[in-house]
Amino acid sequence: MQRTASAADFNAAQRFFRRASSLLWRRPRVAATVLLAPPMLWFVLIYLAALGILFLSAFWTVDDFTGEIVHQWTLINFETLATSETYRAIAGRTLGIAALVTLTDIVLAFPCAYFMARIAGPRLRATLFVVMLLPIWLSYVARVYAWRLILAHDGVLNWTLHQLGLPAADIGYTNTAMWLVFSYIWLPFMITPIYAAIERVPGSLFEASADLGAKGLRTFVKVTLPLVVPGIIAGSIFTFSLTMGDYITPILIGGPGSSFIGNVVYSNVGIANDIPFAAAFATIPAVVMVAYLFAARRLGAFEMM
């Protein structure tokens, strides 16, 4: 008796799955909604909502006595930012170093990506790929800390210079140190997209260029470089944005005068507890990045990511 009941249950379940299956097959809209709703709800209800609230709170202020956020429209945060020399300098430093780091990483990464895509054999290429990307996944704080040890007064760098009979380079806790460390930390993010872009260029184009009489450098400037631009842009999204949004490296590597936008945001959320002001300052990197992302998308950079 029980056996037939469970057999009936089984048949019912099977019929249910059959029907669900054919429903999903005949109505792709239903299938797409079922798949898409959970991830999109997550992003809309949490992430985009969070960005929205952040943007709104930039126009709010904090009650001096209670420390509570007052939901009242005001431009005071932006006025403070616009009129303050200090904050302008911080924004300038953040954007400037982010741009410098991006350029440095393009220069460092391009030859590597080119070597991997066009010269290395398949086995070497696969190995290089893993080796170059490995550091991304190894602890970020650890890698920043490593540079603190290297650049310290009694660190590896000065010891090496001393052995070579050179004067000590006291670049620890300076903007130079930050530039070096940022370039180091984000370099792997530049290699993959440039590699992807070079790999897509058909080999015949290089041959055609050579057949038409172009020398190596000319082929590089006229053929390779323009085709690789989307890859460079894709990489720069990461190096630029990651540098701009950092506050750990300025704390651990930078000196007293190397605050980034992120540091102001960080201290206003923690100690000073002025989220509206922090939000207002955070709109600068946000606006810069959103504009940059839209431009990048038009230039086809997303294909390289």
Binding site: P39, I46, A49, Y184, L293
Partner: protein, 265 residues
């Protein structure tokens, strides 16, 4: 075509970049064996005395456990949501399809401090206290893209005809998914999950804003370095964590690049 000189120059450049990438990591590993409290170079000797010290430190254990718990759940969420989004975008044409890949990548394309403070003010706005759960929400949000990218790249390489053949032979959507699509997808899923786990385990910029009073391991490390305290233990912890992430990440890359045909058979 590149001349021999160009080839060599590029090769040497690549080798130097690899040295640049790995020397700092090697130095950290050496410092883990520093017998002294003071971090100077050259080391006065070599010793493993700080390994047991770090192992028995309760703060480190708590932080490590919190990090692992958060990374496990965040990975679970991002595998589920990232795979679903990848399937939807790959299989169906719909309005706003392009926007999906744009939104998914936003949490890692926008500056980290922005994602951090946005989530922080979001939780504040709804009066949600910062806890284990808020850490997980933050991590899952930026880990989804890792799984999404991995899965969609694999889906593009799998040919649709196998799926159609399966359905022609009478298998329904679910059976086809389980017997055809999933086996061809499994390595991409595992590698996506491993990378998401590694990312979650190491993240510090967003986590600061979502963690409240508790410390994840990277937060503990950051705090200790900043205050200049317990640096010998920091050296050990950092070394162990890096070596421990090395294996899953290498595994992930090997799985990611395996051709789907090998795994389908």
């Amino acid at each position: 075509m590149e001349s021999t000189f160009t080839k060599w120059a590029l090769g040497i450049w690549t080798a130097l970049v690899i040295v640049f990438l790995f020397v700092p990591i090697a130095i950290i590993v050496v410092y883990a064996f520093n017998p002294s409290h003071i971090q100077t170079w050259p080391l006065p000797g070599l010793s493993t005395r700080w390994f047991p010290a770090a192992w028995h430190n309760r703060e480190i254990r708590h932080a490590l456990w919190l990090s692992v718990k958060a990374a496990l759940l965040a990975t679970g969420i991002s595998v589920t949501l990232g795979t679903a989004a990848a399937f939807a975008v790959h299989r169906f044409k719909f309005f706003g399809r392009e926007a999906v890949s744009f939104i998914v990548v936003l949490p890692i394309a926008l500056p980290g401090v922005l994602t951090g403070i946005a989530l922080n003010s979001f939780f504040g706005f709804w009066h949600i206290g910062l806890s284990y759960w808020t850490i997980v929400i933050g991590h899952a949000t930026f880990c989804i893209v890792i799984v999404y990218n991995n899965v969609i790249a694999r889906l593009r390489r799998i040919s649709g005809s196998l799926r159609e053949a399966s359905m022609d032979l009478g298998a329904d959507t679910f059976v086809t998914f389980r017997r055809i699509t999933l086996p061809m997808l499994s390595t991409a899923l595992i590698s996506g999950a491993l990378l998401a786990f590694a990312l979650s385990l190491d993240e510090v910029i967003v986590t600061t804003f979502t963690a409240g009073a508790q410390n994840t391991l990277p937060l503990w490390i950051f705090g200790a370095i900043r205050l200049g305290q317990r640096l010998p233990e920091v050296n050990v912890v950092v070394t162990v964590v890096m070596l421990a992430t090395l294996i899953p990440v290498i595994l992930a890359y090997r799985l990611m690049n395996r051709a789907p045909a090998d795994t389908g058979k």
